[in-house]
Amino acid sequence: MLPKVLALVSIGRHPQSGRERRAEQDGRAVEMGLCLQERQLMHLSVAHAGNADSSVLRQYAGMGLSKLSVLAQQANEDVLSPLIDYVEAQQASMVLMGVRSEMGQSSGMLPYLLAERLGWPLLPRVAEIQSIEEGVAQVLLALPRGQRRLVSVALPFVATLDNAAKAPRQTAFGPGQRADIEVINTTSIADEVAAQWQFTPAKPRPKRMKVVKAKTAADRFKAATAKPVGGGGKVLKNETVEEKAQAIFDFLLEEKVIR
């Protein structure tokens, strides 16, 4: 029997229209699960905690899922406990999901809470699972600036998916409509802490401009119009070309941009 991978999906939000859609990273979690299944490394199941009636669930299902389980929850309910129960009941050995939800609090806590409660390690921002051999996975993490890091970890684990992971496959209408949306009734625990919080529509936050703190008018004027200068840089003029190039090369090594 293949070990199980569980992809947890949430309802996303289209950045332009604000409409519901597959969440970018959660879709990638399903995609990764499907790939693992196709490679016969794991068996995929997919679950959502929330409203079973959302048409977005059909979009996830349309990726080729015969069944999608919904842990029925209202908005503002704490989904953690039902999820833990579900993961344990499923005997999953890998849980995949997005880094942050596109709706609601977007705190990114859920995967960490899950991992902690399950006692599993957590891998953040996974780009790719290269292999799983004898229960040990070789995982590529996405780092800033397009960089990648290879990490090896033994199953079971929780992983969050970076946008660098393979994009979710197309959703197909027919299978999506026909998929079995299995509703699992769960006990609901209201999130009383968050109920205290105030939610308001956000205004865009422009990036900070240069801050001119100069006191005098002349200095403010200069600060505004000055050209960027570094000052105090090393200048090699009379050395040989070899020495000059070596200096640059050493600099690059020191800054660790050459490895």
């Binding site: 008018a217 403010r220 505004a224 960027p228």
Partner: protein, 688 residues
């Protein structure tokens, strides 16, 4: 849609929908005549921008509301009479027809003017303090006059509205009457019109209230303000935020235009229209600061010239509209070209400030590189149509701005064009000019021309010195000579150019002569090359003295450009000496001695230096012209009547040319400037 969507998102000002985020902000055009009436030229100038897609044009920088705020010096628009209304109607129709919106800036300039002309008025300001840039003394304004001027604002706004314009912009910037009252630097009053914050605000507030009452709630009334005067005794950024907030709270202002810097000194004036030495959008932070505290849209101009730059500013949300005024002077089809996916074909403003520097001399605003701008009414085209006549073989000699423009225009007409250049690269004197510190942007002029010439399939032959044989072998129907000039060092034999005692600024800038340690530059021209050479040498570590026989070094350079040279030269301790003639240069040991003579006393003095650089203008390279002249059908002559009238040269009207048509233009005729050469090239070649 495209990567530039942020530019094309419409936005309302009051109830007026502006189709995109690009504004041509108020500037003095110097095109109004007949006592400040907008003319055909004026209308066509703005119509071209609207046709090119500009969202909002705010015309008539410093258009006056009162008869004692003179307009004649800068031929600005006069709103003090109902005579202006039908003129406005023509203007509004022309712009509206193309989906653009047009407003006008209205103001009383107070002390910032000249009194010595037209009606010879007494100028007025809150406390009668002299304005240094215009050298204008004035009286202290009396309360009766204050109320009269407020009434004038009201009437002016009414005329703008009746004329069908979309709004008015109250100028409270550039030290006009309103901000003269605001600024503690010039408002020393102790009555209700000064003293406290509210007192200083009162005049502007009364103007605003009265104007708003006249025009009703829906007509756009905006306000242009500074973001920081940069004067120790002036208004700083925090003051301006407070002022903006104060006016914004009335709900009567529909937008704020924000300008960085005051401008009542030569040095601050240069900030207002930042030339090529400035970083991009140097004062955006001031406008963004104002935007943080007001609820209405904010417009900001100042060194925003590039679509990507504009996009970045708008996407970041620093301001709501970007002013791209000089960008539109350089290319009124700026927006259209973005929309046509021809971003690389936009003729980008390089910040040469030829436009504004002419304006400050009371001359009509022209673009150094786009000679069609504001000459639309004469029939000079921005978009050059293909000829429907015969396709001609055109040979252009010389790849400077004149030659490049001639080649470009001829190629746009659909002719077969060959461009011959002696040097290994195109650009002519522009390439030299671009070598100086902070002047590199000027190469944008030739870079655009080169890209266009390439796009249009002109055959370019570099490293080729043209002679009569070569020209004849190419068998051109039209030959345009733009062979430029060469430094004129032999005027005074005593300078010793023959013996190599003096070198030219060209030698310095193109690097063919190493900078000396202690250098004297003698500059009789007092425009860019001498200053640039001085700046170049000083930046290489030379000790430089810049000597001229004129009134001051760089006296020929306009008001927004000489200050940035001065900043740079003083910083590098270049000594500037005026009124001295270079009489003689002689060698003494390993040194050179330059003998200078005071023009007014005849007193002589010497400088011991190791390099003498002379800038004495150029002499035309006319050898090729004389070699070709005799064999040309027109004997090299250009029909000035047709030329000045923007009509085709008479030979072109015939069905067939009976031989080679020969024209020469640019410095190979006599030394003028980039604009002159390119203007001739355009008006000659547009009818080819």
């Amino acid at each position: 849609m495209s990567q530039y969507d942020a530019l094309f998102e419409p936005l309302n000002i009051n109830k007026l929908t502006i189709r995109n985020r690009i504004v041509s902000t108020a500037h003095a055009e110097v095109y109004a005549t007949d006592g400040g009436m907008t003319t055909d030229r004026y209308v066509k100038y703005y119509e071209e921008k609207a046709k090119g897609g500009c969202g909002l044009c705010i015309c008539g920088g410093s258009s006056v509301v009162s008869i004692d705020s003179p307009q004649s010096w800068w031929s600005s628009v006069n709103l003090s009479t109902d005579r202006i209304i039908p003129h406005f109607q023509n203007l509004a129709d022309a712009v509206h027809k193309h989906g653009g919106k047009i407003m006008i800036q209205i103001t009383h300039m107070g002390r910032r003017s000249r009194w010595d002309g037209e009606n010879w008025p007494n100028l007025m300001s809150p406390s009668g303090i002299r304005e240094p840039v215009h050298r204008a003394t004035c009286k202290t304004i009396e309360v009766e006059e204050i109320w009269r001027v407020i009434g004038d604002f009201v009437q002016a706004a009414r005329r703008a509205k009746e004329g069908g314009l979309d709004g008015v912009e109250l100028s409270a910037v550039h030290q006009h009457m309103i901000d003269q009252f605001w600024s503690p630097r010039v408002n020393k009053r102790t009555d209700e019109w000064g003293g406290t914050f509210e007192g200083r605000m009162k005049f502007g507030m009364e103007v605003l209230k009265a104007v708003r009452e006249e025009v009703g709630p829906d007509f756009v009334v905006g306000m242009r303000i500074t973001g920081d005067e940069f004067h120790p005794d002036g208004l700083n950024h925090e003051d301006m935020k407070q002022i903006a907030q104060y006016y914004d709270a009335t709900g009567m202002v529909d937008y704020f235009g924000v300008v960085g810097s005051g401008c009542d000194t030569h040095n601050t004036l240069a900030n207002v229209i930042p030339n090529m030495s400035y970083p991009p959008e140097p004062f955006l932070h001031l406008a963004a600061g104002i935007k943080e505290v007001v609820n209405v849209p904010v417009i900001h101009a100042q060194n925003i010239k590039d679509p990507n730059q504009a996009k970045r500013i708008l996407e970041a949300g620093y301001v709501d509209f970007v002013g791209m005024t000089r960008a539109h002077i350089a290319d009124p089809h700026f927006i259209a070209k973005i929309k046509m996916d021809q971003v690389d074909q936009i003729r980008q403003c390089v910040g040469a400030n030829y436009c504004i520097d002419r304006q400050y001399q009371g001359l009509d605003v022209l673009c150094v590189q786009n000679t069609a701008t504001s000459r639309e009414y004469m029939g000079l085209p921005h978009i050059i149509e293909k000829t429907t006549g015969p396709i001609r073989n055109v040979v252009v000699v010389g790849g400077g701005p004149g030659g490049l423009e001639a080649a470009r225009v001829a190629a746009e007409r659909g002719h077969k064009v060959t461009l011959i250049e002696k040097a290994p690269e195109l650009g002519g004197q522009i390439s030299l000019a671009a070598k100086a510190p902070q002047r590199d942007q000027i190469a944008g002029i030739s870079r655009w021309l080169i890209m266009e010439v390439e796009r249009l399939g002109v055959e370019v032959r570099l490293d080729t010195a043209a002679d009569a044989d070569l020209i004849q072998s190419l068998n051109p129907e039209v030959c345009v000579l733009c062979t430029g000039g060469r430094p004129f060092l032999e005027q005074n034999p005593e300078w010793g150019a023959e013996e190599g005692l003096v070198v030219s600024t060209w030698d310095i800038l193109n690097g063919s002569v190493e900078p000396g340690k202690n250098v004297l530059i003698y500059d009789t021209i007092c425009e860019f090359s001498g200053m640039s050479a001085a700046d170049y040498l000083a930046s290489k570590g030379s000790l430089v003295e810049l000597v001229t026989d004129d009134i001051k070094p760089g006296v020929g350079i306009g008001g927004t450009t000489f200050p940035t040279y001065y900043r740079s030269l003083y910083e590098k301790e270049v000594i500037m000496t005026s009124d001295m003639l270079l009489e003689k240069v002689y060698r003494e040991d390993d040194k050179l001695v330059a003998v200078l003579e005071n023009e007014y006393t005849g007193q002589q003095e010497e400088r011991v230096v190791d390099q003498v650089v002379v800038e004495n203008g150029t002499r035309p390279n006319e050898e090729l012209y004389y070699a070709l002249k005799a064999n040309s059908v027109n004997k090299g002559q250009i029909d000035n009547e047709a030329l000045f009238d923007i009509k085709p040269q008479p030979q072109l009207l015939a069905d067939k040319l009976d031989g080679m048509l020969l024209w020469r233009l640019g410095d190979c005729v006599s030394q003028r400037n980039i604009h002159a050469a390119m203007y001739d090239a355009l008006r000659l070649c547009k009818d080819l």
